[in-house]
């Protein structure tokens, strides 16, 4: 047997260990660095623009002055609308897939379809939304059409996260409930869903984050170039933050002059996404506690 130099081996192991440690640490720092650069760039450029007036006033003078109030409201309406549509359907689809359908070819097909759906570029959703909701169903360019289109986009995310949440529920809970003579539905509603709920909520909020930043799907279905008034019904057009950003950066009346407003808009958008993430965390913790209590 070959004699191994214990000392040498230990040294080489240690060297490799510190090298690996350094590599991963370095990459980690680079990523955080990039993220911070992007963030601070936007914050730095945008923070001077943001004021109470900026978020509560209408745009003025060809969008080079004034606020972005209608775009904020528009985005909130669209996000809310898309969730009203995507959340119940997505959750029900996931329940059906995870609790009712047996493993097999049908389940595989549905799974594959949902995965493919989430891979479709969002501009294609926009086109589809225009064809179906705007034209065929006659909703016109409207919050309704935009919400439905965004909802379609969010659907795979909601389905997938809900499925993961349901899978995370230990089977012995189901068996215990069924063993007491509960039906599948009773088991799902009274045992499985309450346990999975915190994670389902997280999925919901993640899809809110996704939806609120999308431009392409609302391009042909709802977004107004310039509309200095609030929507009064779901059949109205509306402005929206991402599209507003796009417009004032590419085709505004005076692109140079509206640059600061663009950064301000970007910052508001980032803040909204950030807030939803914080809210997600809070809700998950809150419901996580509540599940154990009730």
């Amino acid at each position: 047997m070959k004699q191994v130099d214990e000392n040498k081996l230990a040294k080489s192991k240690k060297r490799k260990q510190s090298l690996a440690f350094f590599m991963f640490g370095f990459i980690g720092f680079v990523i955080v660095g990039i993220l911070l650069t992007v963030l601070s760039f936007i914050v730095f450029k945008g923070v001077s623009v943001i004021s109470w007036d900026f978020i509560t006033k209408m745009p003025e003078e060809g969008m080079t002055r004034g606020g972005i109030y209608p775009a904020i409201i528009g985005t909130l309406c669209l996000v809310g609308g898309s969730m009203i549509f995507a959340f119940p359907i997505g959750v029900m689809a996931a329940i059906y897939m995870n609790e009712y359908v047996r493993d097999g070819i049908i389940k595989k097909i549905i799974k594959q379809m949902t995965n493919n759906l989430s891979g479709i570029p969002s501009i294609v959703f926009g086109l589809f939304g225009m064809a179906l909701f705007v034209n065929k169903l006659g909703f016109g360019d409207s919050i309704l059409a935009g919400s439905l289109t965004l909802g379609l986009l969010a659907l795979p995310v909601v389905i997938r996260t809900t499925e993961e949440a349901l899978k995370g529920v230990d089977d012995t809970f189901r068996h215990a409930s069924l063993g007491l003579g509960a039906t599948k539905w009773q088991t799902t509603r009274r045992v499985v869903l309450p346990i999975a709920f915190p994670n389902i909520i997280t999925g919901l909020i993640l899809s809110v984050g996704r939806v609120s930043g999308e431009t392409a799907p609302i391009l042909f279905t709802v977004a107004a170039y310039f509309l200095p008034k609030l929507p009064t019904s779901i059949f109205d057009q509306a402005m929206a933050l991402p599209y507003h950003l796009y417009v004032i950066s590419t085709s505004g009346t005076n692109i140079e002059e509206s640059r600061p407003i663009a950064y301000g808009t970007a910052l508001v958008l980032i803040i909204i996404v950030l807030l939803t993430n914080i809210l997600a965390n809070f809700l998950r913790k809150y419901f996580g506690k509540k599940v154990k209590m009730n």
């Binding site: 230990d170 063993g179 007491l180």
Partner: protein
């Protein structure tokens, strides 16, 4: 009186057999222990009696499984009703993420009972039955997760008893518990015997010897030997049984 019975039962997961020609009878108010090495089919056999194996895809059963002389796999048997006749206790304590009270009340509620007073009375008597009342009577509204593992397991037994089954199926109910909690559960099994027919899977030979009247030894999906616990542990007829209980394999 004959309570549980299986006649020429074969069970398959996909195409691989897990139970081979099992013939076994269990009397009312007795405790039967199922023993045997890991993977020999004890849990599979236990789950036949509340049709929990139905939940697993791609399985096949031949032969008859009878409770009170009725073939429970016959057409027209309502599975939910059948499962009310049997209570199941699992290896790991698994109370629902609800209050102590609601855990025990759960079986009543899902079976359509709404009478508040009735539920309260039943919950109380059942928790007393598992000798947990003194420990939890002041915190019935608290989460069941706040109990110790042993208390949780007794709560799970109470949960199973609340709907007044006549059969209790236990799959290694003490394998996750400390010695003191284990002996409490074993005492409980003794108490419950007068009212229920109990089938218990266990890897613990002493436990089988302590709690059961009859012992069935499974090996590779076959029922090697069954008899009174005393006989199995002192004078088994099969060599395999002898080897297993003396710890020579398994």
């Amino acid at each position: 009186m004959l309570k549980l019975e299986s006649k020429q039962v074969n069970f398959y997961y996909g195409s691989s057999p897990a139970l081979k020609d099992i013939n076994l009878e269990m009397e009312s108010n007795t405790v039967t222990a199922l023993i045997g090495p890991s993977g020999c089919g004890k849990s599979t056999y236990l789950r036949l009696f509340n049709r929990m194996n139905d939940l697993i895809d791609n399985t096949k059963l031949t032969g008859e499984v009878l409770i009170d002389g009725i073939d429970i796999y016959k057409k027209g048997i309502n599975v939910d009703t059948l499962r009310k006749m049997t209570g199941m206790v699992f290896q790991k304590p698994n109370p629902f993420p609800k209050s102590i009270f609601e855990n025990v009340a759960y079986g009543l509620r899902v079976n359509g009972i709404t009478d508040k007073q009735f539920i309260e009375e039943r919950v109380e008597t059942t928790i007393k039955q598992v000798v947990l009342w003194d420990e939890v009577k002041d915190k019935l509204k608290k989460s069941a997760f706040e109990l110790s593992g042993g208390q949780q397991q007794r709560l799970c037994i109470a949960r199973a008893l609340a709907i007044q089954p006549s059969v209790i199926l236990m799959d290694e109910p003490t394998s996750a518990l400390d010695p003191i909690s284990t002996s409490k559960v074993e005492e409980l099994i003794h108490e419950l015997k007068s009212k229920y027919t109990i089938v218990i899977v266990t890897h613990n030979m002493q436990q089988a010897a302590r709690v059961s009247d009859h012992t069935a030894f499974f090996y590779l999906g076959e029922l090697v030997e069954v008899g009174t616990t005393k006989k199995i542990f002192t004078n088994p007829t099969q060599e395999k049984t002898q080897n297993y209980i003396t710890g020579r394999f398994g």
